[in-house]
Protein backbone atom coordinates (compact mmCIF):
# COMPACT_ATOMS: atom_id res chain seq x y z
CA UNK A 1 0.00 0.00 0.00
CA UNK A 2 1.21 3.51 -0.84
CA UNK A 3 1.05 6.67 1.29
CA UNK A 4 -2.10 7.70 -0.60
CA UNK A 5 -3.78 4.41 0.35
CA UNK A 6 -2.89 4.89 4.02
CA UNK A 7 -4.20 8.48 3.95
CA UNK A 8 -7.53 7.27 2.49
CA UNK A 9 -7.75 4.36 4.96
CA UNK A 10 -6.79 6.14 8.18
CA UNK A 11 -8.50 9.42 7.25
CA UNK A 12 -11.85 7.80 6.50
CA UNK A 13 -11.84 5.50 9.53
CA UNK A 14 -10.79 8.15 12.06
CA UNK A 15 -13.03 10.75 10.40
CA UNK A 16 -16.16 8.58 10.68
CA UNK A 17 -15.39 7.52 14.25
CA UNK A 18 -14.69 11.14 15.27
CA UNK A 19 -17.88 12.34 13.62
CA UNK A 20 -19.86 9.64 15.43
CA UNK A 21 -18.46 10.74 18.80
CA UNK A 22 -19.10 14.42 18.05
CA UNK A 23 -22.67 13.89 16.77
CA UNK A 24 -23.69 11.85 19.82
CA UNK A 25 -21.96 13.86 22.54
CA UNK A 26 -24.03 14.37 25.67
CA UNK A 27 -26.25 11.26 25.41
CA UNK A 28 -26.81 10.58 29.11
CA UNK A 29 -30.27 9.11 29.58
CA UNK A 30 -30.69 5.36 29.29
CA UNK A 31 -33.34 5.44 26.58
CA UNK A 32 -31.23 7.63 24.29
CA UNK A 33 -28.03 5.69 25.02
CA UNK A 34 -29.42 2.18 24.47
CA UNK A 35 -32.28 2.75 22.04
CA UNK A 36 -31.12 5.89 20.29
CA UNK A 37 -33.09 8.90 19.18
CA UNK A 38 -35.70 9.18 16.49
CA UNK A 39 -34.12 7.21 13.71
CA UNK A 40 -35.90 7.40 10.31
CA UNK A 41 -36.69 4.23 8.36
CA UNK A 42 -33.98 4.68 5.76
CA UNK A 43 -31.30 4.95 8.47
CA UNK A 44 -32.75 1.87 10.19
CA UNK A 45 -32.67 -0.02 6.90
CA UNK A 46 -29.02 0.89 6.34
CA UNK A 47 -28.19 0.08 9.95
CA UNK A 48 -29.78 -3.39 9.74
CA UNK A 49 -27.91 -3.98 6.48
CA UNK A 50 -24.57 -2.74 7.85
CA UNK A 51 -24.92 -4.87 10.98
CA UNK A 52 -25.37 -8.06 8.99
CA UNK A 53 -22.79 -7.25 6.33
CA UNK A 54 -19.45 -7.53 8.10
CA UNK A 55 -16.05 -7.35 6.42
CA UNK A 56 -16.30 -11.11 5.90
CA UNK A 57 -19.25 -10.49 3.57
CA UNK A 58 -17.19 -8.25 1.33
CA UNK A 59 -13.87 -10.13 1.55
CA UNK A 60 -15.06 -13.69 1.52
CA UNK A 61 -18.26 -13.66 -0.57
CA UNK A 62 -16.49 -12.74 -3.85
CA UNK A 63 -14.18 -15.68 -3.08
CA UNK A 64 -17.28 -17.90 -2.73
CA UNK A 65 -18.45 -16.63 -6.13
CA UNK A 66 -15.00 -17.30 -7.62
CA UNK A 67 -14.74 -20.84 -6.26
CA UNK A 68 -18.33 -22.07 -6.08
CA UNK A 69 -20.34 -19.71 -8.27
CA UNK A 70 -23.68 -18.13 -7.41
CA UNK A 71 -25.13 -21.04 -5.38
CA UNK A 72 -24.42 -19.32 -2.06
CA UNK A 73 -27.13 -16.71 -2.86
CA UNK A 74 -29.77 -19.35 -2.01
CA UNK A 75 -29.10 -19.03 1.71
CA UNK A 76 -30.53 -15.50 1.47
CA UNK A 77 -33.86 -16.71 0.02
CA UNK A 78 -35.12 -16.85 3.59
CA UNK A 79 -34.48 -13.15 4.25
CA UNK A 80 -37.62 -11.60 2.67
CA UNK A 81 -39.90 -14.26 4.20
CA UNK A 82 -38.30 -13.91 7.65
CA UNK A 83 -38.43 -10.11 7.59
CA UNK A 84 -42.10 -10.15 6.59
CA UNK A 85 -42.91 -12.43 9.56
CA UNK A 86 -40.93 -10.20 11.92
CA UNK A 87 -42.51 -6.99 10.59
CA UNK A 88 -46.05 -8.38 10.92
CA UNK A 89 -45.84 -10.42 14.15
CA UNK A 90 -42.66 -9.80 16.17
CA UNK A 91 -42.18 -6.07 15.78
CA UNK A 92 -45.54 -4.85 17.12
CA UNK A 93 -45.08 -6.95 20.26
CA UNK A 94 -41.52 -5.73 20.93
CA UNK A 95 -42.52 -2.11 20.34
CA UNK A 96 -45.78 -2.40 22.23
CA UNK A 97 -44.06 -3.65 25.37
CA UNK A 98 -41.40 -0.93 25.00
CA UNK A 99 -38.59 -3.38 25.76
CA UNK A 100 -34.87 -2.61 25.51
CA UNK A 101 -33.95 -6.20 24.64
CA UNK A 102 -35.75 -9.10 22.99
CA UNK A 103 -35.06 -11.24 26.08
CA UNK A 104 -36.92 -8.81 28.31
CA UNK A 105 -40.01 -9.98 26.48
CA UNK A 106 -39.21 -13.62 27.39
CA UNK A 107 -39.10 -12.56 31.06
CA UNK A 108 -42.49 -10.86 30.76
CA UNK A 109 -44.04 -13.77 28.90
CA UNK A 110 -42.45 -16.66 30.84
CA UNK A 111 -40.13 -16.20 33.81
CA UNK A 112 -36.66 -15.06 34.84
CA UNK A 113 -34.89 -18.35 34.11
CA UNK A 114 -36.16 -18.42 30.51
CA UNK A 115 -35.16 -14.78 30.04
CA UNK A 116 -31.67 -15.55 31.35
CA UNK A 117 -31.42 -18.64 29.14
CA UNK A 118 -32.25 -16.57 26.05
CA UNK A 119 -29.80 -13.87 27.12
CA UNK A 120 -27.12 -16.49 27.87
CA UNK A 121 -27.46 -18.14 24.46
CA UNK A 122 -27.23 -14.74 22.80
CA UNK A 123 -24.21 -13.60 24.82
CA UNK A 124 -22.26 -16.82 24.18
CA UNK A 125 -22.81 -16.98 20.44
CA UNK A 126 -22.58 -13.24 19.81
CA UNK A 127 -19.56 -12.83 22.09
CA UNK A 128 -17.72 -15.48 20.05
CA UNK A 129 -19.16 -14.08 16.82
CA UNK A 130 -17.81 -10.61 17.65
CA UNK A 131 -14.34 -12.16 17.92
CA UNK A 132 -14.68 -13.72 14.47
CA UNK A 133 -16.02 -10.43 13.08
CA UNK A 134 -12.78 -8.71 13.99
CA UNK A 135 -10.40 -11.64 13.39
CA UNK A 136 -11.58 -12.62 9.93
CA UNK A 137 -10.64 -9.48 7.98
CA UNK A 138 -7.54 -8.97 10.12
CA UNK A 139 -6.06 -12.38 9.23
CA UNK A 140 -6.65 -11.84 5.52
CA UNK A 141 -5.35 -8.27 5.42
CA UNK A 142 -2.31 -8.92 7.59
CA UNK A 143 -1.33 -12.00 5.57
CA UNK A 144 -1.46 -10.00 2.37
CA UNK A 145 0.08 -6.75 3.62
CA UNK A 146 2.48 -8.24 6.14
CA UNK A 147 1.08 -6.13 8.99
CA UNK A 148 1.36 -7.56 12.54
CA UNK A 149 -1.86 -9.53 13.18
CA UNK A 150 -2.22 -8.80 16.88
CA UNK A 151 -1.58 -5.08 16.46
CA UNK A 152 -4.21 -4.88 13.69
CA UNK A 153 -6.79 -6.71 15.82
CA UNK A 154 -6.10 -4.60 18.91
CA UNK A 155 -5.96 -1.21 17.17
CA UNK A 156 -9.11 -1.74 15.09
CA UNK A 157 -10.89 -3.22 18.12
CA UNK A 158 -9.97 -0.26 20.32
CA UNK A 159 -11.25 2.32 17.82
CA UNK A 160 -14.67 0.62 17.74
CA UNK A 161 -14.76 0.39 21.54
CA UNK A 162 -14.00 4.12 21.89
CA UNK A 163 -16.81 5.44 19.72
CA UNK A 164 -19.35 2.82 20.81
CA UNK A 165 -18.69 3.55 24.49
CA UNK A 166 -18.85 7.30 23.84
CA UNK A 167 -22.08 7.50 21.85
CA UNK A 168 -24.00 4.26 22.43
CA UNK A 169 -26.71 3.21 19.99
CA UNK A 170 -26.84 6.53 18.13
CA UNK A 171 -23.10 6.49 17.50
CA UNK A 172 -23.53 3.05 15.92
CA UNK A 173 -26.37 4.21 13.66
CA UNK A 174 -24.71 7.49 12.67
CA UNK A 175 -21.36 5.90 11.79
CA UNK A 176 -22.96 2.94 9.98
CA UNK A 177 -24.49 5.27 7.37
CA UNK A 178 -21.10 6.66 6.37
CA UNK A 179 -19.35 3.31 6.70
CA UNK A 180 -21.87 1.78 4.32
CA UNK A 181 -21.23 4.71 1.94
CA UNK A 182 -17.49 3.86 1.91
CA UNK A 183 -18.28 0.16 1.40
CA UNK A 184 -20.59 0.74 -1.56
CA UNK A 185 -18.21 3.30 -3.10
CA UNK A 186 -15.37 0.77 -2.85
CA UNK A 187 -17.31 -2.21 -4.19
CA UNK A 188 -18.84 -0.28 -7.11
CA UNK A 189 -15.42 1.16 -8.05
CA UNK A 190 -13.88 -2.34 -7.94
CA UNK A 191 -16.70 -3.76 -10.10
CA UNK A 192 -16.37 -0.97 -12.70
CA UNK A 193 -12.58 -1.34 -12.93
CA UNK A 194 -12.93 -5.13 -13.18
CA UNK A 195 -15.34 -4.78 -16.11
CA UNK A 196 -12.86 -2.45 -17.84
CA UNK A 197 -10.10 -5.03 -17.35
CA UNK A 198 -11.92 -7.88 -19.08
CA UNK A 199 -10.47 -8.62 -22.54
CA UNK A 200 -11.66 -6.30 -25.31
CA UNK A 201 -14.21 -8.04 -27.50
CA UNK A 202 -15.62 -10.10 -24.64
CA UNK A 203 -19.31 -9.16 -24.62
CA UNK A 204 -21.71 -9.58 -21.70
CA UNK A 205 -23.15 -12.69 -23.35
CA UNK A 206 -19.65 -14.13 -23.88
CA UNK A 207 -18.85 -13.46 -20.22
CA UNK A 208 -22.01 -15.18 -19.00
CA UNK A 209 -21.56 -18.11 -21.41
CA UNK A 210 -17.99 -18.59 -20.23
CA UNK A 211 -18.95 -18.41 -16.55
CA UNK A 212 -21.91 -20.72 -17.15
CA UNK A 213 -19.70 -23.18 -19.02
CA UNK A 214 -17.54 -23.45 -15.89
CA UNK A 215 -20.69 -23.98 -13.73
CA UNK A 216 -20.38 -20.61 -11.97
CA UNK A 217 -23.91 -19.45 -12.77
CA UNK A 218 -25.77 -22.32 -11.11
CA UNK A 219 -27.64 -19.97 -8.80
CA UNK A 220 -30.53 -22.31 -8.03
CA UNK A 221 -30.13 -25.98 -7.15
CA UNK A 222 -33.30 -28.10 -6.89
CA UNK A 223 -31.53 -31.11 -5.33
CA UNK A 224 -33.30 -32.67 -2.34
CA UNK A 225 -30.07 -34.12 -0.88
CA UNK A 226 -29.83 -32.76 2.69
CA UNK A 227 -26.04 -33.11 2.59
CA UNK A 228 -25.83 -30.49 -0.14
CA UNK A 229 -25.18 -27.20 1.60
CA UNK A 230 -26.92 -24.73 -0.70
CA UNK A 231 -30.19 -25.71 -2.40
CA UNK A 232 -33.43 -23.82 -3.02
CA UNK A 233 -35.07 -25.92 -0.27
CA UNK A 234 -32.38 -25.33 2.33
CA UNK A 235 -32.53 -21.64 1.36
CA UNK A 236 -36.29 -21.22 1.60
CA UNK A 237 -36.97 -23.50 4.59
CA UNK A 238 -33.67 -23.65 6.47
CA UNK A 239 -32.71 -20.11 5.42
CA UNK A 240 -36.03 -18.68 6.61
CA UNK A 241 -35.49 -20.17 10.07
CA UNK A 242 -31.86 -19.03 10.12
CA UNK A 243 -32.81 -15.48 9.16
CA UNK A 244 -35.89 -15.44 11.37
CA UNK A 245 -33.65 -16.39 14.28
CA UNK A 246 -31.00 -13.85 13.37
CA UNK A 247 -33.25 -10.87 12.65
CA UNK A 248 -35.96 -11.75 15.14
CA UNK A 249 -34.07 -12.92 18.22
CA UNK A 250 -30.49 -11.64 17.95
CA UNK A 251 -30.28 -8.45 20.00
CA UNK A 252 -27.69 -6.97 17.62
CA UNK A 253 -30.46 -6.78 15.00
CA UNK A 254 -33.46 -6.25 17.31
CA UNK A 255 -31.74 -3.20 18.79
CA UNK A 256 -31.24 -1.74 15.30
CA UNK A 257 -34.90 -1.73 14.34
CA UNK A 258 -36.23 -0.90 17.79
CA UNK A 259 -34.39 2.43 17.50
CA UNK A 260 -37.01 3.59 15.01
CA UNK A 261 -39.14 6.61 15.88
CA UNK A 262 -42.33 4.57 15.40
CA UNK A 263 -43.61 1.18 14.30
CA UNK A 264 -43.79 2.56 10.75
CA UNK A 265 -40.10 3.51 10.67
CA UNK A 266 -39.01 0.14 12.07
CA UNK A 267 -41.21 -1.76 9.64
CA UNK A 268 -40.09 0.15 6.58
CA UNK A 269 -36.47 -0.31 7.62
CA UNK A 270 -37.02 -4.08 7.64
CA UNK A 271 -38.91 -4.03 4.34
CA UNK A 272 -36.05 -2.09 2.77
CA UNK A 273 -33.76 -5.01 3.66
CA UNK A 274 -36.32 -7.59 2.54
CA UNK A 275 -36.20 -6.08 -0.95
CA UNK A 276 -32.47 -5.30 -1.16
CA UNK A 277 -30.73 -8.28 0.45
CA UNK A 278 -30.93 -10.86 -2.36
CA UNK A 279 -29.84 -8.44 -5.13
CA UNK A 280 -27.02 -7.15 -2.93
CA UNK A 281 -25.65 -10.63 -2.24
CA UNK A 282 -26.12 -11.56 -5.89
CA UNK A 283 -24.01 -8.55 -6.95
CA UNK A 284 -21.21 -9.43 -4.50
CA UNK A 285 -21.17 -13.06 -5.66
CA UNK A 286 -21.30 -11.91 -9.28
CA UNK A 287 -18.20 -9.83 -8.61
CA UNK A 288 -16.46 -13.09 -7.66
CA UNK A 289 -17.71 -14.77 -10.82
CA UNK A 290 -16.36 -11.87 -12.90
CA UNK A 291 -12.99 -12.20 -11.14
CA UNK A 292 -13.07 -15.88 -12.14
CA UNK A 293 -13.67 -14.85 -15.78
CA UNK A 294 -10.88 -12.27 -15.52
CA UNK A 295 -8.39 -14.93 -14.34
CA UNK A 296 -9.24 -17.16 -17.28
CA UNK A 297 -7.47 -14.58 -19.47
CA UNK A 298 -4.80 -13.41 -17.03
CA UNK A 299 -2.18 -15.43 -15.11
CA UNK A 300 -3.56 -16.56 -11.75
CA UNK A 301 -1.35 -17.65 -8.85
CA UNK A 302 -1.28 -21.31 -7.75
CA UNK A 303 -2.39 -20.15 -4.29
CA UNK A 304 -4.11 -16.83 -3.73
CA UNK A 305 -3.11 -17.04 -0.07
CA UNK A 306 0.59 -16.06 -0.06
CA UNK A 307 1.10 -17.91 3.23
CA UNK A 308 0.20 -21.23 1.52
CA UNK A 309 2.96 -20.88 -1.10
CA UNK A 310 5.41 -19.90 1.61
CA UNK A 311 4.41 -22.85 3.78
CA UNK A 312 4.67 -25.32 0.91
CA UNK A 313 8.11 -24.00 -0.03
CA UNK A 314 9.31 -24.20 3.59
CA UNK A 315 7.97 -27.63 4.49
CA UNK A 316 8.46 -29.39 1.19
CA UNK A 317 11.15 -27.76 -0.86
CA UNK A 318 11.11 -24.81 -3.17
CA UNK A 319 11.76 -27.12 -6.12
CA UNK A 320 8.50 -28.99 -5.48
CA UNK A 321 6.61 -25.71 -5.42
CA UNK A 322 8.26 -24.71 -8.69
CA UNK A 323 7.14 -28.01 -10.27
CA UNK A 324 3.54 -27.39 -9.19
CA UNK A 325 3.68 -23.77 -10.35
CA UNK A 326 5.19 -24.73 -13.71
CA UNK A 327 2.46 -27.34 -14.32
CA UNK A 328 -0.24 -24.92 -13.23
CA UNK A 329 1.10 -22.13 -15.45
CA UNK A 330 1.28 -24.50 -18.41
CA UNK A 331 -2.38 -25.44 -18.00
CA UNK A 332 -3.23 -21.75 -17.70
CA UNK A 333 -1.45 -20.87 -20.94
CA UNK A 334 -3.23 -23.72 -22.72
CA UNK A 335 -6.58 -22.61 -21.32
CA UNK A 336 -6.05 -18.98 -22.33
CA UNK A 337 -5.08 -20.02 -25.85
CA UNK A 338 -8.15 -22.23 -26.18
CA UNK A 339 -10.42 -19.52 -24.80
CA UNK A 340 -8.97 -17.09 -27.36
CA UNK A 341 -9.83 -19.64 -30.08
CA UNK A 342 -13.30 -20.09 -28.58
CA UNK A 343 -13.94 -16.34 -28.63
CA UNK A 344 -12.76 -15.96 -32.23
CA UNK A 345 -14.77 -18.98 -33.41
CA UNK A 346 -17.84 -17.79 -31.51
CA UNK A 347 -17.69 -14.32 -33.04
CA UNK A 348 -17.11 -15.85 -36.48
CA UNK A 349 -20.24 -17.96 -36.00
CA UNK A 350 -18.37 -21.29 -36.16
CA UNK A 351 -20.20 -23.18 -33.46
CA UNK A 352 -18.43 -26.52 -33.92
CA UNK A 353 -14.98 -24.96 -33.56
CA UNK A 354 -16.18 -22.86 -30.63
CA UNK A 355 -17.51 -25.93 -28.79
CA UNK A 356 -14.29 -27.83 -29.45
CA UNK A 357 -12.13 -24.96 -28.17
CA UNK A 358 -14.29 -24.53 -25.07
CA UNK A 359 -14.05 -28.22 -24.22
CA UNK A 360 -10.26 -28.02 -24.57
CA UNK A 361 -10.21 -24.93 -22.33
CA UNK A 362 -12.36 -26.69 -19.73
CA UNK A 363 -9.97 -29.66 -19.80
CA UNK A 364 -6.97 -27.38 -19.27
CA UNK A 365 -8.83 -25.65 -16.43
CA UNK A 366 -9.56 -29.00 -14.84
CA UNK A 367 -5.91 -30.01 -15.09
CA UNK A 368 -4.91 -26.76 -13.40
CA UNK A 369 -7.45 -27.33 -10.62
CA UNK A 370 -6.12 -30.87 -10.12
CA UNK A 371 -2.58 -29.53 -9.71
CA UNK A 372 -3.90 -26.93 -7.23
CA UNK A 373 -5.73 -29.69 -5.36
CA UNK A 374 -2.64 -31.93 -5.22
CA UNK A 375 -0.52 -29.04 -3.94
CA UNK A 376 -3.19 -28.24 -1.32
CA UNK A 377 -3.30 -31.85 -0.15
CA UNK A 378 0.49 -31.96 0.11
CA UNK A 379 0.39 -28.71 2.07
CA UNK A 380 -2.18 -30.17 4.46
CA UNK A 381 -0.25 -33.45 4.80
CA UNK A 382 2.99 -31.66 5.61
CA UNK A 383 1.27 -29.24 7.99
CA UNK A 384 -1.38 -31.15 9.94
CA UNK A 385 -4.07 -28.87 11.27
CA UNK A 386 -3.44 -26.23 8.60
CA UNK A 387 -6.51 -24.93 6.79
CA UNK A 388 -6.14 -23.54 3.30
CA UNK A 389 -8.75 -20.79 2.97
CA UNK A 390 -7.68 -19.78 -0.49
CA UNK A 391 -11.09 -18.41 -1.53
CA UNK A 392 -10.88 -15.70 1.15
CA UNK A 393 -7.76 -14.28 -0.53
CA UNK A 394 -9.07 -14.09 -4.09
CA UNK A 395 -10.65 -10.63 -3.93
CA UNK A 396 -7.86 -8.97 -1.96
CA UNK A 397 -5.25 -10.45 -4.34
CA UNK A 398 -7.18 -9.06 -7.30
CA UNK A 399 -7.40 -5.66 -5.61
CA UNK A 400 -3.69 -5.51 -4.86
CA UNK A 401 -2.50 -6.78 -8.22
CA UNK A 402 -4.93 -5.04 -10.53
CA UNK A 403 -6.31 -1.85 -9.00
CA UNK A 404 -4.60 1.57 -8.79
CA UNK A 405 -3.37 3.19 -5.58
CA UNK A 406 -6.04 5.23 -3.88
CA UNK A 407 -8.64 2.65 -4.91
CA UNK A 408 -6.69 0.05 -2.92
CA UNK A 409 -6.89 2.35 0.11
CA UNK A 410 -10.62 2.87 -0.50
CA UNK A 411 -11.28 -0.87 -0.60
CA UNK A 412 -9.20 -1.66 2.47
CA UNK A 413 -11.10 1.19 4.17
CA UNK A 414 -14.32 -0.50 3.02
CA UNK A 415 -13.28 -3.77 4.69
CA UNK A 416 -12.45 -1.99 7.93
CA UNK A 417 -15.67 0.05 7.72
CA UNK A 418 -17.63 -3.19 7.42
CA UNK A 419 -15.77 -4.64 10.41
CA UNK A 420 -16.45 -1.56 12.50
CA UNK A 421 -20.12 -1.30 11.58
CA UNK A 422 -21.01 -4.85 12.56
CA UNK A 423 -18.65 -4.98 15.54
CA UNK A 424 -20.06 -1.73 16.98
CA UNK A 425 -23.65 -3.04 16.67
CA UNK A 426 -22.63 -6.31 18.32
CA UNK A 427 -20.89 -4.57 21.23
CA UNK A 428 -23.86 -2.26 21.68
CA UNK A 429 -26.24 -5.22 21.79
CA UNK A 430 -24.05 -7.30 24.11
CA UNK A 431 -23.78 -4.34 26.45
CA UNK A 432 -27.54 -3.60 26.37
CA UNK A 433 -28.37 -7.19 27.11
CA UNK A 434 -25.86 -7.45 29.96
CA UNK A 435 -27.08 -4.16 31.45
CA UNK A 436 -30.82 -4.74 31.13
CA UNK A 437 -31.11 -8.52 31.51
CA UNK A 438 -28.40 -9.13 34.10
CA UNK A 439 -27.26 -5.92 35.84
CA UNK A 440 -30.61 -4.13 36.27
CA UNK A 441 -32.60 -7.33 36.57
CA UNK A 442 -30.41 -9.32 38.97
CA UNK A 443 -27.59 -7.21 40.44
CA UNK A 444 -29.06 -3.72 41.07
CA UNK A 445 -32.81 -3.58 40.68
CA UNK A 446 -32.88 -0.01 42.07
CA UNK A 447 -30.20 1.28 39.68
CA UNK A 448 -30.89 4.77 38.33
CA UNK A 449 -30.75 5.50 34.61
CA UNK A 450 -27.41 7.26 35.08
CA UNK A 451 -25.98 4.19 36.84
CA UNK A 452 -27.27 1.97 34.04
CA UNK A 453 -25.69 4.19 31.36
CA UNK A 454 -22.38 4.06 33.23
CA UNK A 455 -22.67 0.26 33.61
CA UNK A 456 -23.55 -0.05 29.94
CA UNK A 457 -20.40 1.86 28.98
CA UNK A 458 -18.28 -0.47 31.10
CA UNK A 459 -20.00 -3.55 29.63
CA UNK A 460 -19.41 -2.24 26.08
CA UNK A 461 -15.71 -1.92 26.84
CA UNK A 462 -15.65 -5.32 28.56
CA UNK A 463 -17.30 -7.10 25.62
CA UNK A 464 -14.97 -5.23 23.27
CA UNK A 465 -11.99 -6.67 25.12
CA UNK A 466 -13.59 -10.14 25.14
CA UNK A 467 -14.01 -9.90 21.34
CA UNK A 468 -10.39 -8.81 20.96
CA UNK A 469 -9.34 -11.74 23.19
CA UNK A 470 -11.35 -14.23 21.11
CA UNK A 471 -9.89 -12.75 17.91
CA UNK A 472 -6.35 -13.08 19.27
CA UNK A 473 -6.94 -16.79 20.00
CA UNK A 474 -9.04 -17.63 16.93
CA UNK A 475 -8.04 -20.38 14.52
CA UNK A 476 -10.77 -20.82 11.95
CA UNK A 477 -11.79 -23.73 9.80
CA UNK A 478 -13.26 -23.56 6.32
CA UNK A 479 -14.35 -20.37 4.71
CA UNK A 480 -14.72 -17.43 7.08
CA UNK A 481 -18.28 -16.43 6.22
CA UNK A 482 -19.38 -20.04 6.62
CA UNK A 483 -17.73 -20.19 10.05
CA UNK A 484 -19.86 -17.25 11.19
CA UNK A 485 -23.04 -18.78 9.78
CA UNK A 486 -22.29 -22.20 11.30
CA UNK A 487 -21.71 -20.67 14.73
CA UNK A 488 -25.01 -18.77 14.48
CA UNK A 489 -26.89 -21.83 13.24
CA UNK A 490 -25.92 -23.88 16.30
CA UNK A 491 -27.59 -21.45 18.72
CA UNK A 492 -30.21 -19.63 16.68
CA UNK A 493 -32.76 -22.44 16.32
CA UNK A 494 -33.34 -22.83 20.03
CA UNK A 495 -33.48 -19.06 20.53
CA UNK A 496 -36.11 -18.85 17.81
CA UNK A 497 -37.98 -21.77 19.40
CA UNK A 498 -38.26 -19.80 22.64
CA UNK A 499 -39.81 -16.85 20.80
CA UNK A 500 -42.11 -18.97 18.64
CA UNK A 501 -43.54 -20.61 21.77
CA UNK A 502 -43.81 -17.19 23.43
CA UNK A 503 -45.67 -15.60 20.52
CA UNK A 504 -47.84 -18.38 19.20
CA UNK A 505 -48.32 -21.18 21.77
CA UNK A 506 -50.00 -19.35 24.57
CA UNK A 507 -50.72 -22.32 26.84
CA UNK A 508 -47.05 -23.25 27.36
CA UNK A 509 -45.39 -21.90 30.51
CA UNK A 510 -41.84 -21.00 31.55
CA UNK A 511 -40.67 -24.25 33.11
CA UNK A 512 -41.68 -26.36 30.12
CA UNK A 513 -40.09 -24.06 27.55
CA UNK A 514 -36.91 -23.69 29.62
CA UNK A 515 -36.19 -27.42 29.85
CA UNK A 516 -37.31 -27.97 26.26
CA UNK A 517 -34.78 -25.33 25.15
CA UNK A 518 -32.00 -26.98 27.17
CA UNK A 519 -32.83 -30.39 25.62
CA UNK A 520 -33.09 -28.94 22.10
CA UNK A 521 -29.73 -27.17 22.41
CA UNK A 522 -28.13 -30.43 23.57
CA UNK A 523 -29.65 -32.17 20.53
CA UNK A 524 -28.13 -29.56 18.20
CA UNK A 525 -24.68 -30.02 19.77
CA UNK A 526 -24.99 -33.79 19.22
CA UNK A 527 -26.15 -33.30 15.61
CA UNK A 528 -23.26 -30.95 14.94
CA UNK A 529 -20.77 -33.48 16.31
CA UNK A 530 -22.26 -36.61 14.72
CA UNK A 531 -24.01 -35.73 11.47
CA UNK A 532 -22.94 -34.15 8.21
CA UNK A 533 -26.19 -32.46 7.23
CA UNK A 534 -25.92 -28.85 6.05
CA UNK A 535 -25.72 -26.32 8.89
CA UNK A 536 -28.53 -24.39 7.21
CA UNK A 537 -30.97 -26.95 8.64
CA UNK A 538 -29.89 -26.54 12.30
CA UNK A 539 -32.11 -23.51 13.05
CA UNK A 540 -35.16 -25.36 11.70
CA UNK A 541 -34.34 -28.52 13.68
CA UNK A 542 -33.49 -26.57 16.86
CA UNK A 543 -36.65 -24.49 16.64
CA UNK A 544 -38.88 -27.50 15.89
CA UNK A 545 -37.33 -29.52 18.73
CA UNK A 546 -37.79 -26.66 21.19
CA UNK A 547 -41.43 -26.11 20.18
CA UNK A 548 -42.43 -29.80 20.18
CA UNK A 549 -40.64 -30.58 23.46
CA UNK A 550 -42.20 -27.48 25.06
CA UNK A 551 -45.69 -28.70 24.18
CA UNK A 552 -44.96 -32.24 25.39
CA UNK A 553 -43.40 -31.05 28.65
CA UNK A 554 -46.24 -28.60 29.24
CA UNK A 555 -48.73 -31.44 28.86
CA UNK A 556 -46.75 -33.48 31.39
CA UNK A 557 -46.15 -30.64 33.82
CA UNK A 558 -49.60 -29.08 33.37
CA UNK A 559 -48.28 -25.71 34.48
CA UNK A 560 -51.38 -24.01 35.77
CA UNK A 561 -49.72 -20.59 35.97
CA UNK A 562 -49.13 -20.30 32.27
CA UNK A 563 -52.60 -19.26 31.10
CA UNK A 564 -52.79 -16.49 33.69
CA UNK A 565 -49.38 -15.17 32.71
CA UNK A 566 -50.34 -15.17 29.09
CA UNK A 567 -53.58 -13.34 29.73
CA UNK A 568 -51.68 -10.64 31.57
CA UNK A 569 -49.77 -9.93 28.37
Amino acid sequence: MSTLDFVVLIGSMLGIAGYGIWRTRGRRDLNAYLKGGHTPWFAIGLSVMATQASAITFLSTPGQGFAGGLGFVQIYFGVPIALLIIAIYFLPIFRGLNVFTAYEYLGKRFDTKTRLLGTGLFLVQRGLGAGITIYAPAIVLTTVFGWPLNLTIISSGLLVIIYTVAGGNDAVTVTQKYQLGIIFAGMITAACLLLLKLPPGLTLKDTLTLAGGFHKLNAVNFSTDVHERYTIWSGIFGGTFLMLSYFGTDQSQVQRYLSGESLRESRLGLMFNAVCKIPMQFCILMLGVLIFVFYQFEPAPLFFNPASSQLLANRSNSQKLQVYEAGFNLSQVEMQQQLGNWLNARHAGNRVLADHAFRAAALANRQGEEIRQTATEELKAKNPGTTVNDADYVFITFILQQLPHGVIGLLVAAFFAATFSSKAAELNALSSSTTIDFYRHLVRRDATDAACVLASKWFTALWGFVAIGVALCAHLAENLIQAVNILGSIFYGVMLGLFVVAFFIRWVGGTAVFWAAVAAQTLIFVLYAKLTISYVWYPLIGCAACVILSCLLQMILADTNAPDKVRSL
Binding site: P92, R95, G213, L217, A219
Partner: protein
Protein backbone atom coordinates in the same frame (compact mmCIF):
# COMPACT_ATOMS: atom_id res chain seq x y z
CA UNK B 1 -59.03 -2.01 27.38
CA UNK B 2 -56.44 -2.57 24.72
CA UNK B 3 -53.06 -3.96 25.58
CA UNK B 4 -50.20 -1.61 24.57
CA UNK B 5 -48.86 -3.92 21.88
CA UNK B 6 -52.34 -4.33 20.41
CA UNK B 7 -52.73 -0.55 20.42
CA UNK B 8 -49.54 -0.01 18.44
CA UNK B 9 -50.25 -2.93 16.11
CA UNK B 10 -53.59 -1.57 15.10
CA UNK B 11 -52.28 1.99 14.90
CA UNK B 12 -49.40 0.80 12.72
CA UNK B 13 -51.71 -1.21 10.51
CA UNK B 14 -54.45 1.36 10.08
CA UNK B 15 -52.23 4.43 9.63
CA UNK B 16 -50.90 4.87 6.13
CA UNK B 17 -47.39 3.85 5.25
CA UNK B 18 -46.55 7.37 4.15
CA UNK B 19 -45.17 6.00 0.88
CA UNK B 20 -46.28 7.49 -2.44
CA UNK B 21 -47.29 4.29 -4.27
CA UNK B 22 -48.00 1.93 -1.40
CA UNK B 23 -50.69 3.39 0.81
CA UNK B 24 -51.47 0.27 2.84
CA UNK B 25 -49.19 -2.20 4.60
CA UNK B 26 -50.76 -5.04 2.65
CA UNK B 27 -49.54 -3.47 -0.60
CA UNK B 28 -46.03 -3.09 0.87
CA UNK B 29 -45.95 -6.76 1.87
CA UNK B 30 -47.24 -7.81 -1.55
CA UNK B 31 -44.52 -5.73 -3.21
CA UNK B 32 -41.85 -7.41 -1.06
CA UNK B 33 -43.21 -10.87 -1.89
CA UNK B 34 -43.46 -10.03 -5.59
CA UNK B 35 -39.88 -8.75 -5.71
CA UNK B 36 -38.71 -11.93 -3.94
CA UNK B 37 -40.54 -14.17 -6.43
CA UNK B 38 -39.17 -12.10 -9.30
CA UNK B 39 -35.58 -12.47 -8.06
CA UNK B 40 -35.90 -16.22 -7.60
CA UNK B 41 -37.46 -16.55 -11.06
CA UNK B 42 -34.64 -14.50 -12.61
CA UNK B 43 -32.01 -16.61 -10.87
CA UNK B 44 -33.68 -19.82 -12.08
CA UNK B 45 -33.73 -18.35 -15.59
CA UNK B 46 -30.03 -17.46 -15.33
CA UNK B 47 -29.24 -21.01 -14.17
CA UNK B 48 -31.25 -22.60 -16.97
CA UNK B 49 -29.87 -20.31 -19.69
CA UNK B 50 -26.17 -20.60 -18.91
CA UNK B 51 -25.60 -24.06 -17.47
Amino acid sequence: MKHPNQAETSAGDTHGTGLPFFRTWKSVYLFVLASFVLWVALLILLTKMFS
